[in-house]
């Protein structure tokens, strides 16, 4: 019955996230409130890793699948997307390469700097 308990905890935290999202007028999705609540619960020892681990792994494993319906929804907006296909494709390609290069390079430079100064 441990899956029942694990899913209960995860869904309860998700529900808490939804409640906060409802009452707090910020553009923060319920899932992010939930993530922060879960991290706080794990860090404080209120929830033990073992009490959510298997169900958590399962949900992270199937995460790519949860993208399918929304992405397939493209079929409904194709008419809207078609005229901007070129700019969207260019922006997607350039920004993906730029983000990867900059974030990796900055991390590496700061790491090297830390080692040099003997930290």
């Amino acid at each position: 019955m441990r899956y029942v308990k694990q899913f209960t905890i995860i869904l309860f935290v998700s529900f808490l996230g939804e409640i906060i999202h409802y009452f707090v007028p910020l553009p923060v999705p319920a899932s992010i409130y939930g993530l922060i609540i879960m991290l706080a619960a794990l860090s404080s020892g209120l929830v033990k890793t073992a009490s959510v681990y298997e169900a958590g792994r399962f949900l992270i494993d199937i995460m790519p699948l949860t993208f399918i319906p929304a992405a397939a929804g493209l079929i409904n907006v194709w008419a809207e997307l078609k005229p901007v296909l070129l700019p969207f494709a260019v922006i997607t390609f350039v920004s993906t390469v730029a983000v990867m290069g900059v974030s990796g390079k900055v991390t590496q430079l700061v790491l090297k700097h830390g080692k040099k100064t003997g930290k």
Partner: protein, 229 residues
């Protein structure tokens, strides 16, 4: 057809079977471009287009997959918690990398949206493109973007990052495992993390970490940048 599409399991089965097909194709060919998610989305669209089954019918079953987005994102706290020590150790470098990645993303989208003279709605649709769908779709919705296009662009970004990841890391001479993980996770979220996991354990851990951190930071950055254009 009625008896088939009337079942709530039709959309769910189609989605999962399409993903399974994608995984099988990837395994058989070993080609990075045959990303299971890309194949799954293409297969679902092809089936709907060829059979004439409307999207609403498909979605009546497939929506149950979407409902798992929030709890799955909540669970990203688990690997994040497990790598808390690693995060503390290289905290400065990791945060510098992720923050620079988040800023690069929103600045790039802002600059190029201006160049292409996009509308505000299209601009905010693209703003959360580098982060995981669970968060990105929420951000897009809050800012008034077109959610399904955001989801599609996020998936395309992820697949692109996965396919060009290794070559890009080589070109930029990014060799440190921590830096590689941050680069893949910041630019291509969960799908980039799949590639990071292939490269090594540290890469994978750092990449999962950046999904959550850059996701949270982008929530803030995107809502600020939404005012600029």
């Amino acid at each position: 057809m009625e008896f088939l599409t009337g079942s709530v399991f039709f959309g769910l089965l189609l989605s999962i079977a399409a993903y399974e097909l994608g995984m099988t194709l990837k395994k058989k060919t070993g080609l990075g471009i045959l990303n299971p998610l890309l194949i799954a989305v293409a297969a679902v669209i092809a089936v709907l287009a060829l059979t004439g089954i409307d999207f609403e019918t498909y979605e009546s079953g497939a929506q149950y997959l979407s409902y798992m987005l929030t709890p799955a994102t909540v669970c990203l706290a688990i690997p994040l918690y497990e790598k808390l020590e690693l995060l503390k150790h290289d905290f400065k470098a990791i945060m510098a990398g992720i923050v620079s990645g988040v800023l690069t993303s929103v600045v790039c989208v802002l600059a190029m949206s201006a160049v292409f003279a996009l509308e505000h709605e299209q601009y905010v649709t693209l703003l959360p493109k580098s982060i995981t769908t669970a968060i990105g779709v929420g951000v897009s919705e809050e800012l008034g973007g077109i959610v399904s296009i955001t989801a599609a662009v996020i998936v395309i970004t992820g697949i692109l990052g996965n396919v060009i990841g290794e070559a890009t890391l080589k070109i930029f001479k990014i060799t440190d495992p921590v830096a590689k993980g941050i680069a893949l996770g910041s630019s291509a979220h969960a799908i980039g993390t799949t590639k990071a996991m292939e490269l090594g354990e540290t890469e994978g851990a750092m990449s999962s970490l950046s999904i959550a951190v850059s996701g949270v930071l982008t929530v803030i950055a995107a809502s600020v940048f939404a005012q600029f254009y």
